[in-house]
C-alpha cells in the first residue's frame, strides 16, 4: 500500500482500532476459553479412543463417526427425541397459545393465572419427574392402586384403562412427552402473551368496525402478527425437547430396554456406562451439528416470515 495514499491508515486510526479491540478483548477471551476451545477439544477427542482417565489416547481418525452412523440405538434415540419434540410442538405450544390468548383478554384474576401457568417451568425437572412418577405409579398395596391416575381410573369405573404407564413400551415415551409438555408450556405461554400484547389494539377495533368475526380476526390479524413469535417458540421448543434427559432419568431411570433412550442419555451412557469418551464426544459433535442445522433453517424461515 502506498503510504502517501489518502487511504492509508493513520496512526490515529490504528489507535482507534486498537482501542476497539481492547473493548472486545475480554469477551473474545471468555468466548474462546469457554466455547471455542472446548468445541475444538471435543472434536479432537472424538477422533480418539479414550476411557476418560487413561494417559493413553489412541487416535482412531473418523472411526467413531463411522460407528455412530451404523449405531441403530443412537438413531432410535434421535427418533425418540423427535417424537417428544413433535408432541411438545403440537400440544405444548397449542396449550401455551390458547392460554396466552385467554389471559390476553380482560378476565378476572388474570395475574393469578399468569403466575400459576408459569409455575411448572420453574420447578426442577427432578421434582417434576418425582411428582409424575407418583401420579403414574402402577404399584398396588392392599388391593389399591398407589398411583393417582390408576386410582382415579378405578374410582370412576374405568379399571380396564389401568396400565403400567411408565413400564409399558407403548405408553412410556408418550407419558414422558406429555410431562415434558406440561413442564414446558409456561415458557411458550409467557412469550406468546408478550407477543400478543404487542399487537396494536387498533387493528382489532378496525376489524370489528369492518364486521369481522372472532375467527376471522384471529386468522387474519392475530396469526399473521404472531408468526415471528411463533417461530421463536418453535425453535426454543425443538432445542429444549431434543435435549431432554433429566426428566427421562427421573421417570424411568435406565429402564425399559432402549425404548426411552434419548440422545443425551446415550451420550451419558457412552461416557459413564461404557467409558468411551471419544465416542461420547463424536455423539455430542453429531448431535450438536444436527441442532445447529435445525436452528439455521428455523432462523431462515423466521427471516422470510418477517419479510413477508
Amino acid at each position: 500500500m502506498d503510504i502517501f495514499s489518502p487511504n492509508r491508515v493513520s496512526s490515529v486510526q490504528w489507535r482507534g482500532y486498537f482501542e476497539n479491540f481492547l473493548f472486545v478483548l475480554p469477551a473474545v477471551v471468555i468466548f474462546s476459553v469457554f466455547y471455542i476451545f472446548p468445541f475444538f477439544n471435543i472434536f479432537w477427542l472424538s477422533l480418539h479412543e479414550w476411557n476418560g482417565i487413561s494417559p493413553h489416547q489412541e487416535f482412531v481418525g473418523l472411526d467413531n463417526f463411522r460407528e455412530l452412523m451404523q449405531d441403530t440405538i443412537w438413531w432410535d434415540s434421535m427418533g425418540h427425541a423427535a417424537y417428544i419434540t413433535l408432541i411438545a410442538l403440537i400440544f405444548q405450544n397449542a396449550l401455551a397459545f390458547a392460554l396466552a390468548l385467554a389471559c390476553d383478554r380482560e378476565i378476572r384474576m388474570k395475574k393469578f393465572y399468569r403466575v400459576i401457568f408459569f409455575l411448572p417451568p420453574v420447578l426442577s425437572e427432578v421434582v417434576v419427574g418425582l411428582i409424575w412418577t407418583w401420579i403414574l405409579n402402577s404399584g398396588m398395596q392392599d388391593g389399591q392402586s398407589i398411583g393417582l391416575l390408576n386410582h382415579f381410573l378405578n374410582r370412576i369405573g374405568l379399571p380396564h384403562l389401568v396400565n403400567d404407564w411408565l413400564s409399558d413400551p407403548k405408553t412410556a415415551l408418550t407419558c414422558i412427552a406429555v410431562v415434558h409438555s406440561w413442564k414446558g408450556f409456561g415458557w411458550g405461554f409467557i412469550i406468546f402473551l408478550a407477543g400478543l400484547q404487542t399487537i396494536d389494539r387498533q387493528l382489532y377495533e378496525a376489524a370489528k368496525v369492518d364486521g369481522a368475526g372472532s375467527l376471522r380476526t384471529f386468522m387474519n390479524i392475530t396469526i399473521p402478527m404472531m408468526i415471528p413469535v411463533i417461530l421463536v417458540v418453535v425453535i426454543l421448543t425443538i432445542l429444549g425437547s431434543m435435549q431432554v434427559f433429566v426428566l427421562v432419568l427421573s421417570m424411568v431411570g435406565q429402564g425399559l430396554g432402549y425404548h426411552t433412550e434419548v440422545p443425551v442419555t446415550r451420550i451419558l451412557a457412552s461416557m459413564t456406562g461404557t467409558n468411551r469418551f471419544g465416542y461420547a464426544c463424536a455423539q455430542g459433535v453429531v448431535f450438536g451439528m444436527i441442532l445447529v442445522v435445525v436452528s439455521f433453517f428455523q432462523i431462515q424461515l423466521s427471516k422470510r416470515a418477517k419479510q413477508a
Binding site: 489507535r15 482501542e19 481492547l22 473493548f23 478483548l25 475480554p26 477471551v29 471468555i30 476459553v33 476411557n51 476418560g52 482417565i53 487413561s54 494417559p55 412418577t133 405409579n137 402402577s138 404399584g139 398396588m140 398395596q141 392392599d142 388391593g143 398407589i146 403400567d164 411408565l166 413400564s167 409399558d168 413400551p169 412410556a172 421417570m251 424411568v252 431411570g253 435406565q254 429402564g255 425399559l256 430396554g257 432402549y258 451412557a269 461416557m271 459413564t272 456406562g273 461404557t274 467409558n275 468411551r276
Partner: protein, 434 residues
Amino acid sequence: MKKFYSFAGLSLLGMCLLLGVLASCTKSPAKQQAISVWHWMTDRHETFLKLAQKYEEQTKVKVKFELYAPSDAYSQKVVASAQAKVLPDIFGVLDKKEIFASFIESGFVADLTEEFLADSGAWEKSLFPKALSVNRFEEGNIYHIKPGLYGVPIDVTNIQMLYNPNLLKKAGVSQPPQTFEEFLNAIAALKKAGITGLVSGWGELWMIDCFASNYAFNIMGEEKVMATYRGEVPYTDPDWVKVFGVFKELKDKGALAAGIVTKVNKYAEQDFALERAAFAFNGSWSVNVYQEMNPNLQYGAMLPPAINPDLPMKIWGGAGSSFVVNNSSPRKKMAIDFLKWLTAKDQQAYLAMETRNLPANAEALSSIPEILAQFASAMEQTTHPTIWKYNEDALVTEAFTKGIQSIIIGEKTPQGMAQEVQAVKERQMRKKKK
C-alpha cells in the same frame, strides 16, 4: 490520550482479574492446609464430620470432608478433577476396575502396599480380606498394574435378598424359601393373598447385572462365566439361556413388582420399607435406609434361593466404600495416617453404630445390630467384578442388562436375547482383534 491509557489500564486490570478467577477455580484442594476428603456418602456425612472433629482434637490435624452426591455426579467430578490435576488428598474411585487401573497408571493414586505391610502387616490384618481384595492388584493382572494395595476400605457390603416375615405369614408361608422352587411356591401364595412378590431397583442396570451374575455363578460356576468373558463360551450356551430364563420365569409367575424395570433403587427401597412387597433384592446399606423410612419394619436377610444345589450361590460384595490417597498430595503421609485411624476398631465401631453399615474392621463386628450380623454371615460367599480376573466388555454388559429388561417387559425371549448379546460380543471381539 489520557482516556486511552486509562482504558488500556482498566482492560489489563480486568484481564488480570479474569485470570485470577480462572486460576482460583483450578486451585488444587491438595494445596490447602487441612487434609481434604471428597466423598459421596450422604448418609455418613454427619458422622464423618464428627470423626474429623475427634481426629483434630486428638492430633491437631484438621480434616475437611466435602460431600458431592449423588454418586454419578461424584464420579464425574473426580474424573474431571483428575484430568485437571486438582484432586484432593483423599478421594474414592467409584468405577470399574479398568478405570481404577487407569487412575493408578496415570499416577493419581498412591501405592499403599508398604503401609499395609508395616508392623508385620498389622493394618492389613485388621481389615476383612474380601474388602481389601477390591483394592488389590494381583501379580500378572490384566491391567499391567504393579501388584499391590491401592485403596482403603472403610466399610464392607453385600447384596442379598430380604424378606418380610409378616407378609409371608399373611400368605401362609412360615419360613423364608431356601430353593428357587420354594421361592416360586411362596410367590404363588403371596399372589393369592394379593401381596407383591419381589421388588428391586432394576431401573438401574448394575442391579440387574448383579442379580443375573448371582444365578450365572450358581447355574454354571465361576469358571464358565469367566470363559464366557474371555470369549470361549457363547451367550447362546444353554446355561446362559437358563440364566435369562430365570427372569422370564419370574415375570411369568408374577413374582416381580409392577414397573420393576423403571424403578430406581430408592423407589424399590421405599416399596419394601412401606411393606408393599414381601421380598427385596438389595444391599446391606439398606439397613440404614429402612431404619430411616420405617423404624418398625421387620425383615430378615437371606441368600437368593439357589437353582443348582451342586454349586454355591455367590453374591456381590466386598468393600462397600473405599478411599484412595492422592499420589501427588503434599500431605500423603498425613492422609495415610488419617485413614489408618479411620479404619481402627473404635472409629469403625462408631461408624457402624451411627450409620448401620458393616465395618471393614473385623474387630468392630461385635457391636453391630442383628440384621447386619445376618448380612455379615454371608461375607464368605461374596464376589465382585472388581476382583474377577476377567471382566465383560462394557458394551456387552449394556446389551446383556438391557436385554434382560426386554425379557421382563415381554418383548424378547431368553433365546432371542442370548443371540443378540452374542452378536454384540462377537462384534466387540472382532474390534479388539483389529
